[in-house]
């Protein structure tokens, strides 16, 4: 079981520039734990003080918004590509 997560530019300064990561997380909670462990600086940017996914962070699984797949509890399938995209992100100076 392996999935890939794409990290947007806006967050890469907290990941030493890493933009892509393979791991074996089974769901979003596990994926965030993997990211927390690997990139401790990233943690507060993914979840708010109450532990909820940040309001303006959208999560996509193979191009589909995770909220259409049943929400954050969705069980990843082998080969899933996870995209973290701030809701109005983008920009390269």
């Amino acid at each position: 079981m392996s999935i890939t997560v794409q990290i947007p530019t806006a967050l890469r300064r907290h990941t030493d520039g890493v933009g892509k990561l393979d791991c074996s997380a089974n769901n979003l909670g596990e994926l965030f734990s993997v990211l927390d462990q690997k990139f401790p600086q990233l943690k507060p940017h993914l979840r708010d003080e109450a532990g909820q996914i940040r309001r303006f962070l959208n999560v996509y699984v193979n191009e589909e918004d995770i909220r259409f797949l049943g929400g954050p509890g969705y069980t990843f399938q082998d080969g899933d590509e996870i995209l973290l995209v701030p809701s109005i992100a983008g920009g390269r100076e």
Binding site: H45, F68, R92
Partner: protein, 417 residues
């Protein structure tokens, strides 16, 4: 130093001026904040009255680069009293803000694009771009041509043919994406990360969105520097309604209008109503939807400013409604037949929702109410397919016409003396 800068809407962090839409700290959207004291002396009713009738008369409250010279007279569209439609809805104090005739491309998007491109130039972009449900595509393409930018436009593949043609004609590169607007938008966020382009509604979004305020400035000025009691606004991404509110608040701050509570009412198509659904069910957050409506210009299932639109509406004591596709078509016809204004599907949504709001008693008939018509019906004529039958041709003879008249007038005419 500019008298404006980007600030995070949630944590307040200042970001100066740069092509950027979100705060790196908390991912929240950035908003343009102004030093109001710096413009107080220039931004007066008297000084504004002496300026040309276009949106640039409000320049002090727009994030324009120093020495910016507008190349187009955008905005200052008519605010029309609408007695005939008002009669149908049961009010005598109804106004239409008619951006169906906004220049250069007949929608309110001309306002936002004009501001975005001023900054695109200042930031040194040679290519501008957008994700669009149509009107924005038209406007970016036209204004890019006028201002010498290359334009790359990303649209959902199933857009109305007229909106595609109205983009291509300006020489823009149109990329059709096999997906919904929300998917196009997400893709553009990723593209903007990789290519150094000025995406008007992505990395230039905070500046772009400020252009919408001019709708609010104009409504107030055209009402004789008074605020209306109610505004009904169509909602796609949800930005316009929040910016009209910001405009009214700024006019109050600078003393151009008397402070007064204004109720904000949102209008959506039932087939894509994430904001109105949240309001009706008392939720503060958006549950995204998969759009299924002919009102394609409003077909955004995951509205970027939905959270703020909900806040603006509920805090004002307003409400949000939604109408079905047949209802919105009927309302396009109503507006055309009563006031001679041909609006696109989004305008049908606005009129249809206004009708509901009056019927439900949410808008009082004796209050001044402005309906925002944001786009032109010539772009979405396919919405009316099948509504009118083609007339059979008759010979160019008077007798033929008289016979035709006899056959047509099945309803007895009452002749008034």
């Amino acid at each position: 130093m500019a008298h404006y800068e980007l600030r995070c809407r949630e944590c307040g962090k200042a970001w100066g001026n740069q092509p950027r839409s979100i705060c790196d700290e908390c991912f929240s959207p950035l908003e343009v904040g102004y030093d109001y004291d710096a413009v107080r002396a220039e931004f007066t009713r008297e000084k504004i009255a002496q300026r040309p009738p276009n949106m640039w008369r409000y320049s002090e409250l727009l994030p324009l680069p120093p020495h910016f010279h507008p190349t187009l007279p955008v905005g200052f569209t008519p605010l029309l009293s609408a007695p005939n439609l008002g009669k149908e809805l049961g009010t005598h104090k109804l106004f239409i803000k008619n951006d169906a005739v906004c220049l250069p491309t007949l929608s309110f998007k001309d306002r936002v694009v004009a501001v975005a491109l001023s900054q695109a130039r200042a930031f040194g972009f040679d290519t501008v771009s957008c994700s669009s449900t149509g009107n924005l595509a038209n406007s970016v393409a036209a204004q890019a041509a006028r201002n010498g930018f290359k334009a790359w436009i990303f649209i959902p593949a199933d857009l109305e043919p007229a909106k595609i043609l109205n983009t291509q004609v300006y020489g823009a590169r149109v990329v059709r994406i096999a997906g919904s607007y929300d998917q196009v938008n997400r893709l553009c966020s990723q593209i903007a990360d990789e290519h150094r382009w000025g995406f008007v509604n992505v990395n230039l979004r905070p500046y772009y969105a400020e252009g919408s305020k001019t709708v609010g400035f104009e409504i107030a000025e055209q009402l004789g520097w008074r605020l209306p009691d109610n505004v009904v606004v169509p909602m796609a991404g949800g930005s316009l309604i929040t910016k009209i509110k910001k405009a009214f608040d700024e006019l109050i701050t600078l003393g151009l209008v008397e402070p007064k509570p204004v109720k904000f009412f949102g209008a959506q198509a039932s087939g894509c109503s994430p904001i109105s659904t949240a309001i009706k069910t008392g939720r503060a957050e958006i549950e995204p939807q998969k759009p299924a409506t002919i009102a394609r210009s409003l077909a955004i299932g995951n509205p970027a400013d939905g959270h703020y639109a909900i806040k603006a509406i509920t805090k004002s004591g307003g409400w949000s409604e939604d109408v079905s596709d047949p209802e919105l078509v009927d309302s396009i016809q109503s507006l055309a037949e009563t006031e001679g204004i041909f609006t696109e599907t989004a305008g049908g949504v606005t009129v249809g929702c206004a009708r509901k709001l009056y019927r439900e008693g949410r808008i009082a008939p004796d209050e001044t109410t402005v309906l925002c018509i944001t786009g032109n019906g010539l772009k979405t004529t396919d919405a009316l397919a099948g509504e009118y039958t083609a007339e059979t041709a008759i010979a160019p003879k008077l007798a033929e016409f008289e016979r035709y008249l006899d056959n047509t007038l099945d309803v007895p005419e009452t002749v008034e003396a």
